[in-house]
Symmetry: C2
């Protein structure tokens, strides 16, 4: 069973991976084959769909990097963590992800929320 | 279909209701009959189980009041919000709840996380 901290590290790594094959491999280490991802802006179904979704977001934010900023905080089969998307001039987005974790330790169903930018 | 803000207000009201019958009624307005609740400390299955769980938590915190402090923030069939449990001398716990929402607008599956107390 994969440790949740490793799974979340690989999740962030998948979002940062420019090589399609390596990204798909990281998605497989992170998500079950039938996993789902849903946030206010994008959605992906299945590991292939999630890889394609990540590629699309990466294309929209060239040169940006995702960083884990808090968590993972896990209990039972649930986990949450917070990430930021950094550009040249600092963070451009902050999100909090909630997920259910499958028995093998991979993510099954991920919901992302976006924090409102500070006024 | 119930508005999510009303559902979350009734959810908080259920946690604050001392009368068993009124509390059970608020739980029915808030949760589907087969709903589940899970946080690091307590769990409840079904509307009856959730009502009993809430009664147990209320018994452990006499004189305390739950307050919604942020949200609800919803997209698709997902919602999150933050609450605090207040005692005589201020908040004793802060939690963030994440839920899936059924087609009728009620909560289907609620996961609570507890914020770490400030150092």
């Amino acid at each position: 069973m994969a440790e949740i901290a490793t799974v979340v590290d690989n999740y962030i790594a998948a979002w940062n991976e420019s090589d399609q094959e390596r990204r798909r491999s990281l998605v497989s280490e992170t998500f079950t084959e039938d996993a789902r991802y849903l946030d206010p802006l994008v959605a992906g179904e299945g590991a292939d769909g999630i890889e394609t979704m990540i590629a699309g977001v990466r294309g929209a934010y060239p040169g940006h990097v995702f960083r884990l900023v808090s968590g993972p905080d896990a209990h039972h089969d649930r986990v949450r963590f917070t990430w930021q998307l950094h550009g040249e001039n600092g963070p451009v987005a902050t999100g909090i992800d909630f997920a259910t974790v499958a028995e093998d330790g991979r993510l099954q169903d991920v919901t992302g929320f976006l924090e409102q930018p500070a006024a």
